[in-house]
């Protein structure tokens, strides 16, 4: 065992600080698990967990489309909208380039069932066209970003309506907390795959939460604000369209 000199310690602290500072000002996507990051067992397990939700989603979409053929086109446009949104830069404070998730908005507009299917397609496109996420980790990412997060957002949104919360506050809370929930689920998934030597899964989850907090927390807040503006804007000058969009949700 060697002793650190004061200078060495200072250098190390400085370098950690630089890393923390700089890590916040780079490309920030919502938190996908990268290709190759999970072992085969976890890839298959998370994929299996996602299957029932996807099956339910496909069945619900099929029913909606049989009733109203326009729905397919509308859903496709919605999927493209979410994908484009997630590939665009949004303004951010630190000068980094952040990207929205868009799944919270989708859950509010189209409901969690349709979002799960649109979500897995968008995640596949992100993996192949934007190199974000991956094919082997598709199951895990689908669970955290297309199932858990949207369902959480949707429940919060419904609860907010029930308790007659202010619309703006309600949308903001649903989307921002949904994003944070996604980030927690992803951290848990990573922690379960790589538990810490000294503290097990819980300690490892804390580590992942800490490492990604500087990028994910501001992202959730900005996404919440943007979604509020989008939903408000839709209500003020696209009310008939919004009503029409609502039928997808009724089909579920």
């Amino acid at each position: 065992m060697f002793k650190w000199t004061k200078k060495e310690k200072r250098i190390m602290t400085f370098s950690v600080m630089i890393a923390a500072l700089l890590a916040t000002s780079q490309t920030v996507y919502a938190m996908h698990i990268m290709e190759g990051y999970l072992s085969a067992a976890y890839c298959i397990a998370w994929g299996a967990v996602s299957i029932p939700f996807l099956v339910a989603g496909v069945i619900s979409i099929r029913h909606t489309v049989q009733k109203k053929r326009r729905a397919l086109i509308l859903l496709a446009m919605a999927g493209a909208y979410i994908f484009v949104l997630s590939s665009l830069k949004i303004p951010s404070v630190t000068g980094s380039c952040s990207h929205m998730t868009g799944t919270g908005l989708s859950a509010i507009l189209f409901g969690p069932m349709a979002t799960s299917v649109l979500g897995i397609i968008v995640l596949l496109f992100q993996a192949i066209l934007l190199a974000h996420g991956g094919l082997t980790t598709l199951g895990a990412n689908t669970f955290s970003m297309a199932i858990a997060g949207p369902i959480f957002s949707f429940l919060l949104y419904k609860a907010g309506i029930k308790f007659k919360l202010n619309r703006k506050v309600n949308v903001f809370i649903a989307v921002a907390l949904g994003d944070l929930f996604t980030y927690c689920v992803t951290s848990m998934q990573l922690a379960m795959a790589y538990p810490s030597e000294s503290g097990g899964v819980a300690a490892s989850a804390l580590k992942f939460l800490a490492v990604f907090a500087p990028t994910q927390v501001p992202l959730a807040v900005i996404e919440g604000i943007l979604t509020v503006i989008i939903v408000m804007g839709m209500e003020s000058f696209a009310a008939p369209e919004l009503k029409e969009v609502g039928f997808i949700k009724e089909g579920n």
């Binding site: 990051y37 493209a80 030597e197």
Partner: protein
């Protein structure tokens, strides 16, 4: 890009600390960091750069089911492996295939890799560093009552995870930099993914370009009217652009539906698929690659 370089240096430093003598370690860090900083400059110009590269790639001529399934098998072999070697071999092979055979510039390849790699590195930092009450590692940094520890076991584990992630990423890149989306969708259709999902995928892919074109003109219009002059204005502008995009995309999709219905759309769309012959040489190369990698995966620990 400089950030990725610094992160790389930090992670390499923690990773090999104690295993490689000090001077060599510093050199290694500087070489890797400098290399990334100079070669792979991250650009943000075109939309869906990967799609354009895939259309141009020399590897685009190869039968797409062959590419897709080979890459998928290699991916699973890579993540199932328990040795650093498999990931590194795959990285080298994929680099060769994409750059030398596919005709992509090395600089472009590295700059495309740098984006996911920075994410992989941040996660690697979380894997490396542990917080404990006793200094049991190679690097121990006292913080308040405990220590930030990098242990040897953590180093080994992180090296394995990193190599697997990089190997898998290179495999994914081979596929995505040589196979346009419609062909991947047609492979999925043959693999019996539900028709409705396939139709959705085709349509989403096409609408993506329509929407992006719309977005670009709206953004230019807003920009020329000082819509992004400061942070709060740009948040407002972005929100409005997205609203408008959603409303316009809705109208567009309704027009699209009318157009389709007037062309006898009854709830099923089939797209034209280009057939690419399966060449014997390609099949042999793919098969031998799979055999070699699975051999490595099984034998090495």
């Amino acid at each position: 890009m400089i950030i990725t370089a610094i992160l790389t240096m930090l992670v390499i430093w923690c990773l090999f600390y104690g295993a490689v003598p000090g001077v060599a370690l510093v050199c290694l860090c500087l070489v890797m960091g400098g290399f990334l900083a100079v070669v792979g400059r991250h650009k943000h110009e075109g939309f869906l750069v990967i799609d354009i590269i895939a259309q141009r790639s020399q590897l685009n001529k190869i039968n797409s089911p062959l590419k897709f399934w080979t890459v998928l098998i290699l991916l699973f072999l890579c993540i199932a492996s328990r040795s650093v070697v498999v990931g590194l071999v795959l990285m080298a092979v994929m680099l060769f295939l994409t750059v030398a055979v596919g005709g992509l510039e090395l600089h472009d390849y590295l700059s495309l890799l740098s984006l996911p790699v920075s994410f992989v590195l941040i996660s690697a930092l979380a894997l490396l560093v542990d917080y404990g009450s006793s200094p049991f590692g190679v690097i121990n940094l006292p913080v308040s009552q405990g220590y930030l520890v990098v242990s040897q076991a953590a180093q080994l584990r992180t090296a394995l995870v990193l190599s697997k992630a990089l190997g898998a990423l290179s495999c994914l890149y081979l596929l995505s930099l040589s196979t346009p989306m419609p062909e991947i969708i047609s492979v999925l259709r043959k693999a019996h993914v539900p028709d409705i999902v396939i139709e959705l995928m085709y349509l989403i892919y096409r609408y993506t370009f329509v929407l992006f074109e719309m977005y670009r003109s709206m953004k230019d219009a807003a920009k020329s009217r000082l819509g992004f002059v400061n942070f709060s204005t740009s948040v407002k502008t972005t929100g409005k652009i997205y609203t408008n995009l959603l409303a316009r995309s809705y109208q567009k999709s309704m027009n699209n539906f009318d157009a389709m219905e007037s062309r006898c759309y009854i709830g099923e769309i089939r797209f034209l698929e280009n057939k690419k012959e399966l060449s014997r040489l390609h099949a042999i190369v793919a098969a031998s690659l799979v055999v070699i990698i699975s051999g490595l995966t099984i034998t090495l620990h």
